[in-house]
């Protein structure tokens, strides 16, 4: 009964807190401007998605990025992915699933003290290469792994 009011109250509070943080100069402008890149997430093709998200799709293969993903995912709805980058100055990590309808799964922007490490779970429609793209010092580096999916996670 009170649920809607609570949600409203909470969102108002959250917005208020962000406003205070901005006016106090606590949030860097970059973090504030990082609006959700709609075009990147709606792109139907991996390279187009990368261009929209990171400004370029020219990524160099790098052995300094370690991606942990299963060889065979029994259930495409839950595929655990862990990415670690040893490249100095890694700013962001993006996860791209080539064969998904919308290849860009997620982008993670790290703060200056944040380690280049993320772990999450994604959905995969079918067997595909999963690529982690790391942005460091204005350049893009990538690592890929093929994950076999026995049951798809989309439209199941």
């Amino acid at each position: 009964m009170n649920h809607k009011r609570r949600v409203l109250l909470k969102s108002t509070l959250a917005a208020g807190a962000t406003g205070v943080a901005i006016s106090a100069g606590l949030l860097t402008p970059k973090a504030v401007l990082a609006a959700w890149p709609k075009a990147a997430f709606e792109a139907k093709e991996a390279n187009a998605a990368l261009e929209a998200a990171l400004g370029s799709s020219a990524a160099t293969e790098s052995g300094e990025i370690k991606m942990k993903a299963p060889d065979i995912a029994e259930n495409g709805a839950v595929v655990p992915i862990t990415v670690t980058s040893d490249i100095d100055g890694s700013e962001s990590i993006s996860i791209v699933v080539k064969e998904n309808g919308t290849p860009l799964a997620a982008s993670f922007n790290m703060g200056p003290d944040t380690a280049a490490f993320v772990s999450t779970r994604i959905k995969m429609a079918k067997t595909s290469d999963v690529t982690a793209v790391v942005k460091a010092g204005g350049k893009l580096y990538s690592a890929s792994k093929n994950v076999k999916v026995t049951i798809g996670g989309c439209g199941g």
Binding site: H3, R6, V7, K10, S11, A14, A21, A24, L26, L27, T28, A31, A34, W36, P37, F41, A77, V78, V79, P80, T82, V97, N100, G101, T102, L104, A105, A106, S107, F108, N109, M110, G111, D113, T114, A115, F117, V118, S119, T120, R121, I122, K123, G153, C154, G155, G156
Partner: protein, 105 residues
């Protein structure tokens, strides 16, 4: 207040914090059909997750419907002490949001 949709575990070891969080959310892509009615299930997924520590944004994750239902996120950052508070918040594509605070152990 209603129970938060976010579960957080944050541990500090030698100045490095490991944060793990689980968010309960349907994460609908908008491409699935309801088998009984044949209608499309509207998209409903988290777009952005933010984590703040000491007034600084340590992690900003931008997600799509490709992230699994009830998403899990783990990351690490340095410069944290035991007892510090971190704040995790999310916003989804329908404008809903939630946030929670947790003490580091």
């Amino acid at each position: 207040m209603a129970k938060s949709s976010i579960k957080v575990r944050a541990k500090v070891k030698k100045g490095e914090a490991t944060v793990k969080c689980l968010i309960s959310h349907p994460m609908e892509t908008g491409l699935r059909k309801n088998k009984k009615t044949g209608k499309m299930i509207p998209a409903h997924f988290i777009q952005e997750v933010n984590c703040e520590h000491g007034g600084k944004n340590v992690m900003n994750a931008q997600w799509s419907g490709t992230i699994s239902k009830n998403p899990f996120l783990s990351f690490k950052f340095s410069g944290a002490n035991k007892g510090d508070t971190i704040k995790i918040s999310w916003v989804d594509n329908t404008g809903k949001s939630d946030s929670t605070e947790a003490k580091m152990k």
